[in-house]
C-alpha cells in the first residue's frame, strides 16, 4: 500500500534548513525526515509477514553481541539501567550474557529463510476511557483475558494505567477492522485512508509458539533464585524464633480472643514462595512477550469518554503543531473537539515544521518583522505625506503598538495604518499629539527617506508616543534602531550594541545637544532618526505643534542621502546627546520608554518594567517556552514530562555563571500518558559506548550506522532496525518509532532482568493504637481497600499482607488452607521476628475471602485497644523482613509518635517557636528510618508514609523512610471521622487514587546527558546509587524529580545538547519495561539569550528544591535569602545583557516576568515562611512535597490558581464532549483583585475553595448554590458544596470545577467560604501578593529587588 503520504518527509522543514545543520538531524542524506510520525499505512488484511523470523538466526543476533560487548567492554560494564540485584549493591551489572535465544532475532528480510513468519500488525488500543480518572484503571482490567494465550485478541498490558500503554495483539490472520471504533485513536493500516492516530503497532511479532520457547529457558531459572532467597530468610526466622519470644495467636473469626500458644510452622515458608513465583514465571512469557508487537498504542480519549483528560498528557510529537502551541495547562489539547485528528497529529509529523514557527510564535514573529519592514518602507515613501496630514486617523493604530507587544511585526506589513503614532500615550497628550503626526510620517517614509528612516525602527516609532519621557531613554532606542536595519536578521542582543560602534555622522550631533536642553523635544528625536536634522532646531518642539509636522515631511525628502548613514546617525545622536543631562532626564522620567518597548518587541526582546506592569500573570495560564531547535521538524519531549530550566544550554561554564541561573532538569517520568508508543523488539538499539537509547536526535551515517547524540560515537545499526514493520519497507531506519518519538516505552528483553520480574506485592502496616482507633481512620482504610480490591494493579500473582502495631506488633495469618484469619501478636518489640512468613503475605487471588474477612473485621478487632504506645520501628522491621525476599511496597499509616522499640522518638517541637525566624529540628533525630529505607531500597522495597496525626509525629525523622526508598509521603493532619468529617473525603480520594494508580516495581532511572554536562544533584525520593543512577524500588505516576546540571566541559562545536532519562521498571503485570524520554536543547554561547529564553516555571521549581536542601543543610532564613538572591541574580544577569537599561525601572524579559511573583510566593509558602505560626510537621511535609512534586502541581501548590466565577460565560470556553467549560482568566492572588460583588474560586492543588463576597448578587447565589441569598448560605459548606442545578451558571461552574478536578491526581474537596465567616482565613492565607505579617507584598518585594539589582 502506498502509504507514505503521511510518512512523507516533513516536507517543509528539512529542505528549508538543510544548510543550517544537516548532520544533526536524523534525517538521512536523503532526508527521509519522514514526518516523524505518520503511522505507516498498512493494509489490515494483509497481515502476513514480510519479515521472517529465523529460528536459527543467521547471525547470532545483534542482541547477544550487544550484550557481550557490554560486559567486556566499556567503562560502564553495566548497561545504564538494569535491574538492581535484590541484594542491592553491586548488582548493576547486566546479566545480558545469559540467554539469548537466537530465534528471537528478526532476520533480514530475505525470504529465503522463512522459518517463522512475523506479522506486523497494528494493535488497536481499546479505548479505555472511563469517566473518571480514578476509575480509568478499572476498565482496562483484563482479568478475563487469558494471559497464557499469546494469540488472545486482547492482552492488555497495564490495565491500571489510565489509558497509557496498551498492547493489544490481534490474531495473525484476523482481519479485524479496528478502525471502526477507534478510528480516531489508532492508526492502523495503510489501507485505511485516515492515518489514524499516532499509533500504529509495529509488530515484529513472532508466532506465538516461537514466543514461548525463547522465554521458557529463562523462566526455569527463576524458581531457584526465589527459593534460595526464601530459604535464607526462613532460616533466619527460625533462628530468631527459637530465641523464644512470646507468640500469641488469636483467632479472629469470632472476634473473641483466645490465646493459645500456637506453634508456628516456619518450615512451610519455602513452599509458599516458590509457588508464588512459579506461576508468575509461567505467566510471564505470554504477557511479556506478546509476540514482539510494537504497539504504538496511543490512546486518545474517544470523544465520548468524557471524563478525564489530563491536559498535558499529550506527547509533544503527537500533537499537531498548532495544537501544541496553544496548549496550556488549562487546555488539554485533546479535549478540544477539533481534535479528531489525533491520528493526524501523528501523521502530521511534518507539521512539526509548523510547530516550529507557531510555538515560537511571538518571539520569532517579532524578530522577522523588521526584515520585512525594510521593503515596505521603501514603498511607503508616498504615504508619509499623507500621514502627516492625517495625524488623527493615524493615532488609533499606534496605541496597540505601544501598549501591546505584538504590533511591531504587524507594523511592517501595515505601515500606512500602523505607522502613525498613538494618541493614547500616557505622557502628556498635548505634547504627544505632535509627536504622533511626526511619527506617522516616519513610518511611511521609512523606505524612501532612507537616510532618516532607513532603519525601520523608526516605524517602531510607535513608541515615540511615550516620547513624553526623557530623551535619554528615548535616545537608546534609536541607537538600537539604527543597527537593526542592517542586522535585521540577527538576534536582538546584537541589536543593542551596534549603535555604539557606529559613530560617524556628526551632523545630527549638533542639533541634538540643543534639543537636549529642551527635554520635551528630546523625546522626539529618538523616535524618528530622520527627524533630527529638523528636530534639532525645533527645540521649541517641546510643545510639539504644527511645526513638527511640517518638519517630518520636509525632512523625509532630504534623507535620501543614504540609508546606511542613518544607523550611524542615530547612534551618534545618542552618544552626543548623552551628556550629563541624559541621566538626569532619564531619572526624571523614570525610564518609561515606550519607544524602546516597541522596538524591542519588534525584535522579540522587549522587556517589561515590573514596577509599571502589575498584571504579569497571563490570564490564560503560563505557556512553557519551547526549545527552538534548528531542526524544527523534530519533536521534543513534552514539557509536562521533561523540562529544563534553560531552553538554551550555555556553551561554557563561564556563560552559565554569567547568566546566574540555576541549570537543571525537572522530570515527571512515570506520568500517566495518553499516548505512549510501546515497542517490543529483540534488540534495543543503544550506543555501545554510553548506552544511550536510540532517539530522534541521533544522526544516521549512511544506511548502517548512526552517531550517538550524547557521546558522538558512531554505532552499527542492527539489521533488524532497517526494517520498518509499519510500512513494511526496508532501509529506512528513520521511520522506526524509536527515532520518531521522544517518549517511548520498550518491552525489555531478558538481559534487563537480574531476576524474574517480581509480582506486585503490597504490605500494609497500620497503626491500631488508642489514638489511631479514635480517629476512625482504620475503618476508612479498610472500607476503601475492600471496595477497590479488584482495582489493585497486579496480575494473578499479586500478593498482599497486613501488619498492625500499637505497643506490640500483630500479624495476620491468611494462608489458603485456613478457614479464618488468625492474628499473631508479637510482644517483643525490641527484637521483632516474623512468625510464619508464608501465610502472612498471601496471594490475593487465592486468599481473597480471607483478605476480605480481615478487612471487614479489622476495625472492630481493635475497637477497644487501649495501647497508647507505638512500636512503629518494630513493625517496619518486621515488614522489611517479610518483604525482603520479594520486594514490593510497604504502606505505613501512623497517627502517633513512635515511642517504644527501635526507632523510638521524642517530641522535639517547641510550640512557642513555631513562628520564629529560624526553625530548629528540621533534620532527623535518628538515622534509624534512613537506614531502614536504605535496606529496603536494596531489597526493592519502597515505604510509603501516610501521617494522619493530630500531634507532633516528627515528620522530619519519619519521612526518611520514604525519602530514601523511593516512596511517597502523604499528610492528613487532624484526620478524625467524627470531629473533623471534612478531612475524610480528601483522605478517601487520595487513598483511592493511591490504591488504584499505576505502579512500577524494582525500578531504576538513569539520566544521561551530552558529553560535557554532568548531573550534580538530585531532588526527589530515591537513593542515588551512582553518579547518574537513581534506585527507585517503586515508581508511581505522581512522583517528580529534579536534577542540577553542571557544565564540566565546554560544548564547543556542538549544536544541541540532549538529556535522556531512561526508567527501567517492572510493571504490575510482571513485564519489564523501559520508558525513555529524550530532551534536546540548542546550545548557545550568548549569555543574554540564555537569560531571556529561560523557563521561569522550571526555574522556580528547581529553586524550591534547592531551597529545601539549603534549609536542611543550613537554616531556614538562609534558604529564604538564597531564594531571593537567586531572583536578584537572574534579573541582574538580564540587566547586564541590556545595552541600555532604563534607570528606575525593574526590567524583566517576558519569559521572566513571573519570577519575582513566584519567588515571593515560595518564600511565603508553608515550607519557607517565617513569622506565621507553622507546625513543624506541616512545614516538613511541605518541604517533602516541594522536593517530589511534579512541576505542574508544585506551581499550583506554591501559587494557587484564582479565578473569578461570578462572571462565567461561554466566551472563549472549551467545548469538550458536549460540555461547555468556561475558561475564566487567572487572577493575581491579591485582595485588590477581589471585587465586592464577586465570587472567586481558588484551586490550591489540595482543595478547591470558593470564596463568596458579601456583595454578590442573590441571583447568582440562587443559580449556583440553590439558596436564595448570600446571607443564608450555610457555613462552612463542604459536602455537596456545589449542587448541580439546572441553570446555566450552575452548569458552567460545575463543568469548570470538574475540569479542574480532572487535572489533579485525585479529586479535591470543594469548599464554599463566605466573606464574613472566620473560615475565610483558609482562603485569605493564600493571597500571597498581599502583605502579611513579617513579609513583603508583591510591590514591596519589587521595590526591594530594584534596590538590590545593581
Amino acid at each position: 500500500m502506498p502509504a507514505p503520504p503521511m510518512n512523507g518527509p516533513p516536507s517543509g522543514p528539512p529542505p528549508l534548513r538543510p544548510d543550517v545543520r544537516p548532520p544533526l538531524v536524523n534525517g538521512q542524506p536523503g532526508p527521509p525526515p519522514g514526518p516523524p510520525a505518520g503511522p505507516p499505512p498498512r493494509p489490515f488484511g494483509a497481515i502476513p509477514s514480510r519479515v521472517n523470523v529465523s529460528g536459527s538466526a543467521p547471525n547470532p543476533s545483534p542482541t547477544t553481541m550487544e550484550a557481550t560487548s557490554l560486559l567486556n567492554g566499556y567503562q560502564r560494564p553495566s548497561p545504564p539501567i538494569n535491574l538492581p540485584a535484590p541484594s542491592g549493591s553491586t548488582s548493576t551489572l547486566n546479566e545480558g550474557h545469559r540467554s539469548h535465544p537466537s530465534q528471537s532475532l528478526i532476520g533480514q528480510e530475505n525470504s529465503s529463510k522463512p522459518s517463522h513468519r512475523v506479522s506486523h500488525r497494528m494493535s488497536p488500543v481499546p479505548p479505555n476511557t472511563s469517566s473518571s480518572y480514578l476509575h480509568a484503571s478499572v476498565n482496562g482490567a483484563p482479568t478475563t483475558v487469558p494471559t497464557t494465550t499469546v494469540s488472545s485478541k486482547t492482552s492488555v498490558s497495564e490495565p491500571q494505567s489510565i489509558s497509557s500503554d496498551r498492547t493489544v495483539k490481534l490474531p495473525p490472520n484476523s482481519g479485524i477492522n479496528v478502525n471502526g471504533t477507534f478510528q480516531g485513536n489508532i492508526s492502523v493500516s495503510s489501507s485505511v485512508p485516515t492515518p489514524v492516530s499516532g499509533h500504529y503497532s509495529v509488530a515484529a511479532s513472532r508466532a506465538p509458539q516461537a514466543v514461548n520457547t525463547p522465554t521458557t529457558p529463562a523462566v526455569s531459572g527463576v524458581p531457584k533464585t526465589y527459593n534460595s532467597q526464601v530459604a535464607g530468610t526462613s532460616a533466619h526466622l527460625q533462628a530468631s524464633h527459637s530465641s523464644g519470644s512470646q507468640l500469641v495467636s488469636t483467632s479472629m473469626s469470632n472476634s473473641s480472643r483466645t490465646v493459645p500458644p500456637s506453634p508456628v510452622n516456619v518450615s512451610s515458608a519455602l513452599q509458599g514462595h516458590t509457588v508464588g513465583s512459579q506461576p508468575s514465571t509461567r505467566h510471564l512469557p505470554p504477557s511479556v512477550r506478546p509476540p514482539s508487537t510494537v504497539a504504538h498504542g496511543s490512546q486518545f480519549k474517544p470523544p465520548g469518554a468524557g471524563a478525564y483528560a489530563p491536559p498535558s498528557a499529550v506527547g509533544p510529537s503527537l500533537v499537531s503543531p498548532s495544537l501544541q502551541a496553544s496548549i496550556s495547562p488549562l487546555q488539554p489539547p485533546f479535549r478540544s473537539p477539533a481534535q479528531p485528528g489525533p491520528p493526524q497529529t501523528k501523521t502530521m509529523g511534518p507539521p512539526v515544521a509548523m510547530v516550529s514557527t507557531l510555538p515560537v510564535g511571538s518571539t520569532q514573529m517579532q524578530v522577522r518583522p523588521p526584515t520585512s519592514m525594510g521593503p515596505p518602507a521603501t514603498t511607503m515613501g508616498p504615504s508619509p505625506t499623507t500621514v502627516g496630514l492625517l495625524p488623527n486617523s493615524v493615532r488609533p493604530p499606534l496605541p496597540t503598538m505601544g501598549s501591546v507587544g505584538p504590533p511591531p511585526p504587524a507594523m511592517g506589513p501595515l505601515p500606512p495604518s500602523m505607522g502613525p503614532p498613538q494618541p493614547s500615550m500616557r505622557p502628556p497628550p498635548p505634547s504627544m499629539g505632535p509627536p504622533l503626526p511626526s511619527m506617522g510620517p516616519p513610518l511611511p517614509s521609512m523606505g524612501p527617506p532612507p537616510p532618516s528612516m532607513g532603519p525601520p525602527p523608526p516605524s517602531m516609532g510607535p513608541p515615540p508616543p511615550s516620547m513624553g519621557p526623557p530623551p535619554p531613554s528615548m535616545g537608546p532606542p534609536p541607537t538600537s534602531m539604527g543597527p537593526p536595519p542592517t542586522s535585521m536578521g540577527p538576534p536582538p542582543t546584537a541589536v543593542g550594541y551596534p549603535p555604539l560602534s557606529v559613530g560617524s555622522p556628526l551632523p545630527p550631533v549638533g542639533p541634538l545637544p540643543t534639543s537636549m536642553s529642551v527635554p520635551p523635544s528630546m523625546g522626539f528625536p529618538p523616535t524618528s532618526a530622520g527627524y533630527k536634522p529638523s528636530v534639532g532646531p525645533p527645540p521649541t518642539g517641546s510643545t510639539m505643534t504644527g511645526p513638527h509636522h511640517g518638519l517630518p515631511k520636509g525632512h523625509v525628502q532630504q534623507p535620501l542621502p543614504g540609508q546606511e548613514m542613518m544607523p550611524p546617525y542615530q547612534g551618534q545622536h545618542q552618544y552626543t546627546g548623552g551628556p550629563a543631562n541624559m541621566t538626569q532626564l532619564s531619572q526624571e522620567l523614570g525610564g518609561l520608554s515606550v519607544t524602546r518597548d516597541g522596538w524591542n518587541k519588534g525584535w522579540g526582546t522587549h522587556q517589561i518594567d515590573l514596577l509599571q506592569n502589575r498584571q504579569v500573570l497571563p490570564p490564560g495560564g503560563v505557556v512553557p517556552p519551547k526549545p527552538l531547535l534548528a531542526q524544527e521538524y523534530l519533536p521534543n519531549c513534552s514539557p509536562d514530562v521533561f523540562r529544563c530550566t534553560l531552553t538554551k544550554v550555555p556553551e561554557t561554564k563561564t556563560v552559565l555563571q554569567k547568566s546566574r541561573l540555576p541549570f537543571g532538569l525537572l522530570i515527571h517520568p512515570f506520568r500517566d500518558l495518553e499516548h505512549l508508543p510501546v515497542v517490543s523488539c529483540n534488540t534495543i538499539v543503544r550506543c555501545r559506548s554510553c548506552r544511550t537509547y536510540i532517539n530522534p536526535y541521533v544522526v544516521f551515517k549512511g544506511e548502517r550506522r548512526w552517531e550517538c547524540n550524547l557521546c558522538f560515537r558512531v554505532n552499527e545499526l542492527p539489521e533488524e532496525f532497517q526494517y520498518d514493520p509499519v510500512s513494511k519497507t526496508y532501509g529506512e531506519p528513520s521511520r522506526r518509532p524509536e527515532v520518531k518519538e521522544t517518549t517511548i516505552e520498550f518491552i525489555a528483553p531478558q538481559e534487563y532482568m537480574l531476576r524474574p520480574p517480581q509480582p506486585a506485592t503490597y504490605l500494609w502496616v497500620l497503626d491500631v493504637s488508642r489514638q489511631a482507633v479514635d480517629t476512625g481512620y482504620l475503618k476508612v482504610v479498610c472500607d476503601t481497600l475492600l471496595t477497590h480490591l479488584d482495582k489493585i494493579p497486579g496480575d494473578r500473582r499479586t500478593m498482599i499482607g497486613f501488619i498492625t502495631f500499637s505497643s506490640n506488633v500483630q500479624f495476620y495469618l491468611m494462608g489458603e488452607d485456613q478457614r479464618h484469619v488468625q492474628m499473631l501478636e508479637v510482644g517483643e518489640v525490641d527484637d521483632v521476628f516474623v512468625p510464619n512468613p508464608d501465610d502472612l503475605l498471601v496471594n490475593l487471588e487465592q486468599s481473597r475471602t480471607l483478605v476480605e474477612e480481615l478487612l471487614a473485621m479489622l476495625p472492630e478487632a481493635h475497637g477497644n485497644s487501649y495501647h497508647t504506645q507505638s512500636a512503629l520501628g518494630s513493625a517496619l522491621q518486621a515488614a522489611y523482613k517479610l518483604l525482603s525476599p520479594i520486594g514490593g511496597r510497604i504502606t505505613v499509616m501512623t497517627t502517633t509518635l513512635p515511642t517504644v522499640g527501635p526507632g523510638a522518638l521524642k517530641p522535639r517541637e517547641d510550640p512557642n517557636q513555631r513562628a520564629g525566624k529560624d526553625i530548629q529540628n528540621m533534620g532527623p533525630a535518628t538515622d534509624f528510618y534512613k537506614k531502614l529505607a536504605l535496606d529496603c531500597s536494596g531489597q526493592q522495597i519502597a515505604v510509603d508514609l501516610f501521617a494522619l496525626n493530630s500531634h507532633y509525629v516528627d515528620m522530619a525523622t519519619l519521612t526518611g523512610m520514604s525519602k530514601f526508598s523511593g516512596g511517597c509521603i502523604h499528610h492528613f493532619p487532624n484526620l478524625h471521622l467524627a470531629r473533623n468529617p471534612t478531612s475524610v473525603t480528601p483522605f478517601v480520594n487520595c487513598l483511592t487514587r493511591y490504591i488504584t494508580r499505576k505502579i512500577g516495581f524494582e525500578a531504576v532511572m538513569r539520566i544521561r546527558a551530552t558529553r560535557g554536562l554532568t548531573i550534580t544533584n538530585f531532588h526527589g525520593n530515591f537513593f542515588v546509587r551512582s553518579t547518574d543512577l537513581l534506585s527507585l524500588p517503586n515508581i508511581n505516576p505522581d512522583a517528580g524529580f529534579g536534577m542540577q546540571v553542571s557544565i564540566e566541559e565546554s560544548l564547543h562545536n556542538i549544536r544541541t545538547a540532549c538529556f535522556q532519562a531512561a526508567l527501567l521498571y517492572t510493571s504490575s503485570r510482571g513485564e519489564r519495561r523501559i520508558r525513555v524520554h529524550t530532551l534536546c536543547l540548542p546550545v548557545c554561547p550568548n549569555q543574554h539569550e540564555i537569560v531571556t529564553s529561560a523557563d521561569q516555571e522550571a526555574v522556580v521549581g528547581l529553586l524550591c528544591k534547592m531551597g529545601v536542601d539549603r534549609c536542611l543543610s543550613s537554616s531556614l532564613s538562609d534558604a529564604r535569602d538564597a531564594l531571593v538572591n537567586a531572583c536578584i541574580d537572574a534579573l541582574t544577569a538580564y540587566k547586564m545583557g541590556l545595552s541600555n537599561p532604563a534607570h528606575g525601572a525593574l526590567e524583566a524579559p517576558p519569559g521572566f516576568q513571573l519570577l519575582p511573583l513566584f519567588v515571593l510566593a515560595v518564600v511565603k509558602c508553608i515550607a519557607f515562611r517565617g513569622g506565621l505560626s507553622t507546625k513543624l510537621d506541616d512545614r516538613m511535609f511541605a518541604m517533602c512535597e516541594l522536593k517530589s512534586m511534579p512541576l505542574k502541581h508544585l506551581l499550583t501548590f506554591v501559587y494557587p490558581d484564582l479565578y473569578p466565577i461570578h462572571l462565567l460565560s461561554e466566551k472563549g470556553a472549551l467545548h469538550i464532549d458536549d460540555q461547555v467549560i468556561p475558561q475564566p482568566g487567572r487572577l493575581h492572588l491579591s485582595a485588590e483583585r477581589l471585587e465586592r460583588a464577586g465570587a472567586y474560586l481558588m484551586d490550591n492543588g489540595n482543595a478547591i475553595l470558593i470564596y463568596i463576597r458579601s456583595g454578590v448578587s442573590s441571583a447568582w447565589v440562587e443559580a449556583t448554590l440553590g439558596v436564595p441569598s448570600y446571607a443564608v448560605i450555610p457555613q462552612p459548606l463542604y459536602e455537596d458544596a456545589l449542587p448541580a442545578l439546572d441553570t446555566t451558571e450552575s452548569n458552567l461552574l460545575c463543568n469548570f470545577v470538574m475540569h479542574l478536578q480532572r487535572n489533579k491526581p485525585y479529586h479535591a474537596p470543594v469548599v464554599v467560604l463566605k466573606e464574613d465567616n472566620p473560615a475565610r482565613m483558609l482562603f485569605i492565607q493564600y493571597l500571597v501578593d498581599d502583605r502579611t505579617e513579617g513579609s513583603h507584598s508583591y510591590v514591596e518585594f519589587l521595590q526591594y529587588l530594584k534596590t538590590q539589582i545593581k
Binding site: 567503562q75 553491586t90 535518628t926 536504605l934 536494596g938 544533584n1017 553518579t1027
Partner: protein, 145 residues
C-alpha cells in the same frame, strides 16, 4: 645512648604518618571509585566510616606526644588539621555509628568533590610532614646523642 622523648615522639610520628598516608590514599581511591560508578555508596561508606576515628585518633596521639615532649613547633604545624578534624566530626550528619559519610548525601556533587579535595590535601600534608618528621627525628637523635 638513650634517646630523648622528642626523638621518640618523632619516631612514632614517622611511623604513624606512614599509616596516615595510606589512609589518605585509600580515601582518595575510594572517592574516585564512587565518582566512576564502580562502587555502591552504601558499601563505600561502610568501608570508609570505620577508618575515620582511627585516623583522627592516631593523628592526635602523636601530637600529644609532641606536646608532652615539648616539640611545640611540630604541634602547631598539626594544630590546624586537628581543629579541622574536630570541626568535621562535630558537624557530621546524624548517624548512629561512628564515621562521617552518609550514603544518601555522599553522591552529591559538592560532597563528593569536597571529600576528594580533602583527601588530596591531606595526602600532600602528610607527605610533607613525613619528611619533616624524618628531619626532626634525625635532629633530635643527633642532639641527644
Amino acid at each position: 645512648m638513650a634517646f630523648s622523648l622528642a626523638a621518640l615522639s618523632y619516631i612514632f610520628a614517622l611511623i604513624i604518618d606512614a599509616f596516615l598516608i595510606f589512609f589518605a590514599i585509600f580515601h582518595i581511591i575510594a572517592f574516585d571509585e564512587l565518582k566512576t560508578d564502580y562502587k555502591n555508596p552504601i558499601d563505600q561508606c561502610n568501608s570508609l566510616n570505620p577508618l575515620v576515628l582511627p585516623e583522627y585518633g592516631l593523628h592526635i596521639f602523636f601530637n600529644i606526644l609532641f606536646l608532652v615532649s615539648g616539640e611545640f613547633f611540630s604541634f602547631i604545624l598539626n594544630l590546624p588539621i586537628i581543629l579541622y578534624h574536630i570541626h568535621r566530626y562535630r558537624n557530621r550528619p546524624v548517624m548512629s555509628g561512628p564515621g562521617l559519610y552518609d550514603p544518601t548525601s555522599i553522591m552529591n556533587h559538592e560532597v563528593l568533590s569536597q571529600c576528594q579535595r580533602e583527601g588530596w590535601i591531606k595526602l600532600a600534608f602528610y607527605l610533607m610532614a613525613f619528611f619533616y618528621y624524618l628531619y626532626g627525628m634525625i635532629v633530635s637523635l643527633i642532639s641527644s646523642g
